[in-house]
C-alpha cells in the first residue's frame, strides 16, 4: 500500500512550526531574561501545548492520508464489519451469507457467477474451466476442460483432480452442501464408504479434462458447479476436517492471510491470480483494493456509527430500523437500498388442524397486511404473495388473495369452522422477527384463534421447527434466500413431499402434493433455457399458492452503506454473494 509523501511533509511542517516557536520565544535573551517566572512558565506551557497539538494533528492527518493514498491507481486497505462471522472459512463447508460473501472472491470454481450487479450476476460463466460444459444429449454427462498453467496463491499448480478432491471433501467433511452433489454417479457410495472415489467424476491432470456423469438429467447442475462448494482445492487441504484455521490457498482475486475466527480475518490481493487471468478467465474480476480486514461486531448501531465516522468502510448487514431513516437522509450519497433474492413467509402445517383446511390457509393469506410488515422491516420489504421472488427465473407476478381483507378472512374462517382453535406461533428472537411473530399472533387472535407465541433463540430456531418430534408445530415465521439462481431451489427443499424429514427438514409447512412434486421433478430434468421451463416454474408457483401452502408476504431489500473514502458508484451488491468485494475501490 502506498503511504505517499504528503503526510510526511505535513508532519515536518508542523514540527518546524513548533520548533520555530520555541526558537523565536527563546531567542531574544534580553526579553526572555526580563520575564518573570510565571510568564516564562506560561510561554513554555503554550509552546509545549502547541507542539503537542501540532504533532497530534499531524498524526491524524497521517492516518487519513494513509487511507486515501491509493487514490488514482487502485489499491488501499479497507475495513469491513459483519454482525456474524462466516460460519466456516472453508469453501466446501461455508453455507452462510457472510461466508459466501467472503469466499466468492477467494475460491474460483470451474464455473462461476458473473461479476455484475442485478440479474446479470446470476449468469453462470466459465471460471477455472475454459468454457461452459458440453452436455451429452441425454443430459447426464458434463464435459469441461481446466484452463492450463494456473496456480493457487501458494504457487501450487491447479489440477483437474482438485475438483474431484473438492467434491470428496463435501461428503467426508459432512458439508451442508453435499446434498446438491448426490446426483453424481458414485457419490452416495463414496459418502457411505463403500467406494474409494467418486466414479462419476473422471479427470485427467495432463490434459485438464473433467467428465462428470449424473444419475439423471439435472437442470440445476451448471448452477451448482458455480457455487463455492465446488471450488477446486489442493490435496494438502484436510479431507474430512474444517480448514477454517488454515484455509486452503486461493484461486480467486483475494487470498486469506490471517484468520482469527470468530473475530477477524484478513484478505489480501492474490499475486498468483494473474496466472488465472493469463489463462483466459476474463469473467473473473480482479481486485481493486489491496487488503480487506473483516471484523465481527455484534452491535449494529456501533457499525453504523463507525461508517458514518469513516472508521469502517462497509458493513455487511443493513442498518437497524431505528438508524435507517437517519442514514438515508444524512448519507444519501453513500447509502442505497439493494435488491436481494429472498422470500419471507409464514409456514402453516398443511397436515394438521386447523391448517389442514385450505379455507383456513386462504383466510390467513387474505388477512395479512404486507404494508404493516413493511413498516416492521423499516420500509425494506417489497410486498409479494408468491413463492418465487422477483429476479428468480420463472417469476411472474400474481396475487391470488388481494388484501388485507379481514372481512373475507373471517368469513372463510367461519365457513371452515375449525374445531381446533389453539395455535402455537413460532418465531425466533431477532428483533424484527420477534415483531413479525407478534404481528402474526395478533392477527390470528383477531381471526378468533387462541394463539400462543413461542419465541426461541435464533441459533436453534430452524433445527427446532425442522424437527418432526417438536410438539405444536402449527405455524410460524419462515424465510428463504436463494442458494443458486434456479427456481428449483425455492420449491424442492421447502415444498417437496420428499423434503419432510425427521430432522433438519426445510419443508416446515409439511406440504405434500404428489402431483406438484411430479411436476417439480419433471422440470428439474430440463435446462432452464429449454422452452416452457420458466413458464412451468411460474405455473408451479401459482399451483402451490392456489393450495395456499404458505402465506408469503414479501421480499426483503438489503443495503449498501460505505464510508466517505470508498468509491460508492463502483461498488455493487451481487444477487447471490452479497457485496462483490472486487467492486470495492478507494477514491
Amino acid at each position: 500500500m502506498q503511504t505517499g509523501n504528503f503526510p510526511a511533509k505535513i508532519y515536518s511542517g508542523c514540527a518546524n512550526v513548533a520548533y520555530s516557536c520555541v526558537l523565536n520565544s527563546a531567542s531574544p535573551p534580553t526579553f526572555w531574561s526580563k520575564m518573570n517566572k510565571l510568564r516564562k512558565l506560561t510561554v513554555i506551557g503554550c509552546v509545549a501545548a502547541l507542539a503537542t497539538f501540532g504533532v497530534a494533528a499531524c498524526g491524524g492527518d497521517s492516518d487519513d492520508s494513509s487511507s486515501s493514498s491509493a487514490s488514482g491507481g487502485g489499491g488501499g486497505d479497507i475495513n469491513v464489519t459483519m454482525s456474524s462471522f462466516p460460519d466456516y472459512v472453508d469453501p466446501q463447508l461455508s453455507y452462510t451469507v457472510e461466508g459466501w460473501e467472503t469466499l466468492y472472491n477467494v475460491y474460483t470454481p470451474l464455473l462461476t457467477y458473473k461479476h455484475a450487479k442485478g440479474e446479470d450476476g446470476t449468469e453462470v460463466v466459465p471460471g477455472l474451466a475454459e468454457a461452459m460444459p458440453t452436455v451429452s444429449p441425454d443430459g447426464k454427462t458434463y464435459k469441461l476442460k481446466l484452463r492450463s498453467n494456473m496456480k493457487y496463491s501458494d504457487g501450487t499448480p491447479i489440477k483437474a483432480s482438485d475438483f474431484t478432491y473438492a467434491i470428496q471433501r463435501l461428503f467426508k467433511a459432512n458439508s451442508g452442501g453435499s446434498v446438491f452433489y448426490e446426483p453424481i454417479v458414485g457419490a452416495k457410495e463414496y459418502a457411505d464408504g463403500s467406494a474409494q472415489t467418486i466414479s462419476g467424476i473422471v479427470t485427467d491432470d495432463a490434459t485438464g479434462d473433467i467428465t462428470i456423469t449424473l444419475t439423471e438429467p439435472n437442470g440445476t447442475f451448471e448452477s451448482l458447479l458455480g457455487l463455492p462448494f465446488a471450488a477446486p482445492v489442493p490435496p494438502s487441504t484436510p479431507l474430512d476436517k474444517d480448514a477454517t484455521n488454515a484455509p486452503p490457498p486461493a484461486s480467486g482475486p483475494f487470498k486469506i492471510t490471517a484468520v482469527q475466527a470468530p473475530q477477524t480475518m484478513t484478505l489480501e490481493r492474490n499475486p498468483e491470480f494473474k496466472t488465472v487471468k493469463d489463462a483466459g478467465a476474463s469473467e473473473v474480476a480482479d481486485a481493486n483494493v489491496d487488503k480487506i480486514t473483516i471484523t465481527q461486531n455484534k452491535s449494529n448501531t456501533a457499525q453504523v456509527t463507525d461508517i458514518e465516522q469513516n472508521r469502517t468502510d462497509y458493513m455487511s448487514d443493513p442498518p437497524d430500523a431505528d438508524r435507517l431513516a437517519e442514514v438515508k437522509s444524512r448519507f444519501g450519497d453513500r447509502f442505497r437500498m439493494e435488491n436481494s433474492i429472498n422470500t419471507y413467509y409464514f409456514w402453516m402445517n398443511n397436515q394438521q388442524a386447523p391448517f389442514n383446511d385450505i379455507k383456513v390457509r386462504q383466510a390467513i393469506n387474505y388477512a395479512i397486511d404486507p404494508e404493516a410488515l413493511n413498516r416492521v422491516f423499516g420500509g425494506r420489504l417489497h410486498a409479494s404473495q408468491q413463492i418465487l421472488p422477483p429476479g428468480m427465473p420463472g417469476y411472474e407476478e400474481f396475487k391470488l388473495y388481494p388484501g388485507p381483507d379481514m372481512a373475507k378472512a373471517k368469513a372463510l374462517i367461519a365457513e371452515a369452522n375449525p374445531a381446533d382453535k389453539n395455535i402455537t406461533v413460532w418465531t425466533d428472537d431477532e428483533p424484527d422477527r420477534k415483531r413479525i411473530g407478534e404481528y402474526y399472533h395478533d392477527l390470528l387472535t383477531q381471526l378468533g384463534f387462541n394463539a400462543t407465541l413461542k419465541v426461541i433463540s435464533g441459533d436453534v430456531y430452524w433445527a427446532t421447527i425442522g424437527n418432526q418430534s417438536t410438539p405444536d408445530l402449527d405455524t410460524g415465521f419462515g424465510d428463504w434466500f436463494q442458494d443458486f439462481p434456479h427456481p428449483d431451489d425455492f420449491f424442492r427443499p421447502l415444498l417437496n413431499g420428499a423434503s419432510i424429514l425427521p430432522t433438519n427438514g426445510n419443508n416446515y409447512s409439511r406440504a405434500n402434493y404428489p402431483d406438484l412434486d411430479a411436476k417439480m421433478n419433471e422440470l428439474r430434468t430440463k435446462q432452464l433455457t429449454d422452452p416452457g421451463v420458466k413458464e412451468g416454474y411460474a405455473a408451479l408457483d401459482k399451483a402451490y399458492m392456489e393450495q395456499a401452502a404458505w402465506a408469503p408476504y414479501g421480499n426483503e431489500e438489503y443495503t449498501t452503506f460505505l464510508s466517505e473514502r470508498m468509491d460508492f458508484d463502483k461498488s455493487y451488491r451481487h444477487l447471490l454473494f452479497s457485496q462483490d468485494f472486487t467492486s470495492f475501490a478507494v477514491k
Binding site: D322, E438, S457
Partner: protein, 345 residues
Amino acid sequence: MAAPFTEVEVADEPPLPTGVPVARIQGRSPWYLAALRMRRNKVALAFGVLFVAIVLLCLCAPLWADHVAHTTPDANHITDTIDVGGKQVDIVAPDGTPIGPGLRGQYLLGADQNGRDVMVRLLYGGRTSIFIGVTAAAITTVVAVIIGMLCGYYRGWIDAILSRVMDVVWAFPVLLLGIALGTALAVGGLSLGFTTLAGDSVWIPILIIGLVYVPYMARPIRGEVLALSQKEFVEAALAQGKGPLRIMVTELLPNVVSTIIVFFTLNIANNMLLESALSFLGAGVRPPSASWGTMIADGYQTIYTAPHLTIVPGLMIVLTVLSLNVFGDGLRDALDPRAKIRLEH
C-alpha cells in the same frame, strides 16, 4: 430547645425515638414500638406511599385501556392513524418510526414499533412485574422459612443435606441460573406432576425467581434459628413437652418474623429487577405479554429514534425498586434496629 420528653433506655437496645412519652412506651409490644419508629421515618413512609401508588396505578390498567386508550396491550395498530391537532398521523411511520409521547388519551406515552399503546402496556406490564415480584417473594419466603427452620432446629444430617443443596444453588450466579432455567423451560414448559405449566406461562419466571433466591433467605434464617434454639425459652418449651413442630411455629417463628418481613420486602425489589433482566434477555416473561423488562427489550433497538420505549419502563423499574428498597430499609430499622439484614448475592 430542650427535648420535651425523656428517651427510654432499654438494655441491649438502641435508643428509642425521641418525642415519645415514656409512659406510652413502657409495657408496649415490640410491634407497637416498631410502628412508632416507622412513623418517625418520613422518608421510608413516603417511598412506601409511592410504591402503593404505583401498585394502584397498575391495578387501574383495564380502566385506562377500555375507557381512555380504547385498545388492549397486545393489539397491533401498525398501519392505523390517529388525530393529532386535527391531522391524521401514522401510529407507525412508513419507515418504521413509532409515534412519540403527547398530551392525548390515546398513545399518551407514544407507540412501540408494532403500534401498541405504550401507556397501556406500561400499566399491564407493571401488573405483571409486580405480580411476579410479590408472588416469587412469597414462594421464596415460604420455602426459605421451612428450610431455615428445619436446618436450624434439627441440625445434624438434615442441616448437612439441605445446606449443601443450598450451597449448590448459591454457587450459581443468580442471573445465569435464571437464564439457564428460563431458556430450558421455554420450549417444553414444566411438568409438576399434578399440573403442567406451558413454556409461555407467567408461572415459569415466578417459580424460577422464587427458587433461585431461596438460599439467600434460608441461610440467615437458619443462623437465627440456630442461635434461638439454644435459648432458655426453647428449653423451657421442651421441658413442658412441646413437640418440634409446635416449638418451631409458636416459639421460633415469632422471633424471626421481623427478619422475614424485612427480607420479604427487599426480596420483592430484587425479584422485579431479576424479572426485568430475565425478560430483557428473553428468558423471563414471554412476548407478546408485557412486563417492564420485555418493554425495555423491545425498545432498546430503537433507542435513537424512540427513546421513550426504553426510558419509560426503565423509570418505572427504578421508582418501584427504589421505593421498595427505601421502605424495606426503614422497616428493618423499625423492626430490628440491630439487624444488618442485607439481601446480598
